[in-house]
């Protein structure tokens, strides 16, 4: 057993922490209130090589591992949930499927610009009538000569308004049992028939772009099919397993920020002539927060480690995502409580943490779906 991070991992953690604290943190409040996607921050993340951490150098990546990637997500999430979500979605959902399942040509053409941070990718799975039940996809792709014609609608898609490519899932036929066969496609965002609108008013992660996509007779070359045509469903489940580790890491960042703020405040605020950190009621809250955060961190690291060692990690990723996201919500909620009336005010930031944290219990599989995934892994 070795709980130490490698030198590269420590260096990455420190670099991202420095960058996040000095470049992103001062902008976090404005990113939230203006709900404007921080494109320039993503240019910088790209230049630092952060968009390509878990991808090999030959595709423009940094050749790092999943643990390194989770460290980066955590540090970004610690200062800005919006930036963290868009970052995690771009890497885990927009780019990773191409890396996992793409052909050599697809990787060269579509993964390289994403990994190098020159472009942004998106992942369009959710539909108005197919959320948790992603298998209920009603978007269709019909083969016609050398092309697929895609029709349908996607909703709540992160980064889509700024994406160059969108991975779209669609029904391509039925299997012998009459069940839908779902495949995945690489759809360049500028293909005629693709309409992307971003009109959502969100509770949190407000600066992360979220968009609806309408696909109307979108014609793409047949070679834009991603991976095994019959296994689109399995592929996106695998993609989501990986994505869950990053949402867990992001949750961890928000939870840590909540503890940092609450602890700092409790050690300065005096009531009844004493620091509130000397009251057991406050101490117990802080103790619970610190404990849950460390437990969540352990699980995130383990899930990432399993993935890095090519072991199965679906259950651990669900553990990590479920526990870390609920930890984040609790920690942010308690941070507000510890800050009292000040915590309720925007200036003290913790109210934003709570709004951002809540998404972590919904995106990439709700908490209920995580429990379902775990129960299935238990053989139920």
């Amino acid at each position: 057993m070795d709980f130490d991070l490698t030198e590269e991992q420590q260096m990455t953690q420190k670099m991202v922490r420095d960058f996040a604290q000095s470049v992103i943190a001062p902008r976090a409040e404005e990113i939230d209130t203006s709900a404007a996607f921080p494109e320039d921050v993503f240019d910088e993340l790209g230049k630092l090589g952060l968009m390509g951490i878990p991808f090999p150098e030959k595709y423009g990546g940094a050749g790092g591992d999943t643990i390194t990637y989770t460290l980066a997500v955590e540090e970004i999430g610690r200062v800005c949930g919006s930036t963290g979500l868009s970052y995690a979605a771009a890497v885990s959902l927009g780019a990773s499927p191409i890396f996992y399942f793409g052909t050599e040509q697809q990787k060269e053409k579509y993964l390289t610009p994403l990994a190098a941070g020159k472009k942004l990718g998106s992942f369009g799975l959710t539909e108005p009538d197919a959320g948790s039940d992603a298998g209920g996809t009603s978007t269709t792709a019909k083969l016609s000569g050398d092309s697929y014609i895609i029709n349908g609608e996607k909703c709540f898609i992160t980064n889509a308004s700024y994406a160059s490519t969108i991975i779209v899932t669609a029904v391509t036929g039925k299997d012998k049992k009459g069940k839908n066969i779902i495949s995945a496609f690489i759809v360049p965002a500028n293909t005629p028939g693709v309409t992307i609108t971003s009109n959502y008013q969100k509770l949190g992660v407000r600066g992360s772009n979220t968009a609806a996509i309408v696909l109307e007779d979108v014609e793409i070359p047949a070679d834009h099919l991603l991976g095994d045509p019959e296994k689109g469903f399995k592929q996106f489940l695998y993609t989501l397993d990986g994505g869950r580790i990053s949402i867990a890491a992001l949750s961890l960042g928000i939870a840590q920020a909540s503890l940092d703020k609450a602890l700092d405040y409790a050690k300065q605020r005096k009531q009844f002539g004493k620091l509130i950190s000397s009251f057991q009621a406050i101490q117990f809250k802080l103790a619970d927060m610190a404990m849950e955060i460390e437990l969540a961190r352990g699980m995130v690291r383990k899930a990432a480690w399993l993935k890095d060692h090519n072991r199965s990690f679906a259950k651990e990723a669900a553990f990590a995502k479920l526990f870390a996201s609920e930890t984040a919500t609790r920690a942010a909620n308690q941070a507000i409580q510890i800050l009292g009336g000040y915590g309720y005010m925007q200036e003290y930031q913790v109210e934003r943490y709570l709004r951002d944290a809540k998404l972590m219990e919904i995106g990439e599989g709700t908490s209920e779906i995580q429990r379902l995934v775990i129960a299935r892994q238990l053989g139920c």
Binding site: E8, M11, M15, D18, E57
Partner: protein, 257 residues
């Protein structure tokens, strides 16, 4: 160009510092590259990119200093040297450091040596100038701009907020001040490459030095934290009385008059 950077691993003075038995408690402390040395690393990389050559980062420290050296390599330096004194020396001062560096540079042909203006831990600002004296090369401290043309160097230096322009020649030692440049973040590809770059580890023996040769010339008597800042006080009453009270406080309490 043969460029060297003198780099020190220091604790982060922005973080909380604890003193235990007359020593800084290293367990809780965060360790970083001395911020002024970061300007030196950045400048060295820029000068190399302009004029060609190689950047070698040198530190005197312990095993753990490797981390800071790797960070400099990740920023873009080519080579690193760790002079590990952990087992040989109990204490050292600026004399020790300058003397070890002098031995290290023996037989080397540096064109440019960059150091930080001060190290934020002890803030003596002596190592650079003392080394230059020992190596018999010109030095310029607290520089904020450096233009090298052939053998000559045009330098701007910070003198208490004013700018002084100096012209000198290579080989040269400079110490770097805030404003010289904006140190880059090590990029991910840089971090991944850093491990493959050469990092040489030396001990006093390798430099033909004995402990006695580098024995510090100073003794640390006591280490203590600055007194905690008390809350500000607002004087009240008639303005005339307030002025009188202020003057008397400056005399009796602050003892500055």
């Amino acid at each position: 160009m043969n460029i060297y950077v003198l780099l020190k691993r220091t604790f982060d003075t922005e973080e909380k510092i604890n003193i235990q038995q007359g020593k800084i408690d290293e367990d809780g402390a965060e360790f970083i590259i001395n911020p002024y040395d970061e300007y030196a690393v950045e400048e060295a990389i820029n000068q190399r990119d302009q004029h060609g050559g190689e950047v070698t980062v040198v530190t005197i420290g312990e095993e753990d200093s490797e981390k800071q050296l790797r960070t400099a390599l990740a920023m873009g330096a080519d080579k690193a040297v760790l002079i590990n004194t952990e087992d040989d020396l109990e204490a050292g001062d600026q004399f020790t450091t300058a003397r070890i560096l002098e031995a290290y540079f023996e037989g080397k042909q540096p064109d440019l040596i960059l150091a930080g203006n001060v190290a934020i831990d002890e803030a003596s600002g002596q190592v650079g100038p003392r080394l230059a004296e020992r190596l018999g090369m010109p030095y310029v401290t607290t520089i904020t701009n450096l233009e090298i043309k052939g053998e000559s160097a045009d330098i701007e230096r910070d003198v208490e907020g004013d700018v002084e322009k100096v012209q000198t020649s290579l080989p040269l030692l400079v110490t770097c001040q805030q404003g010289l440049n904006e140190p880059r973040y090590p990029s991910l590809p840089g971090i991944m490459k850093a491990k493959k770059k050469p990092l040489e580890e030396l001990e006093l023996d390798d430099l033909d030095l004995d402990e006695d040769d580098v024995e510090p010339k100073t003794k640390t008597i006591e280490v203590f934290l600055p007194p905690e800042k008390a809350a500000g006080r607002v004087l009240e009453g008639e303005v005339n009385d307030q002025v009188k009270e202020l003057v008397s406080l400056l005399k009796t309490e602050a003892k500055v008059l």
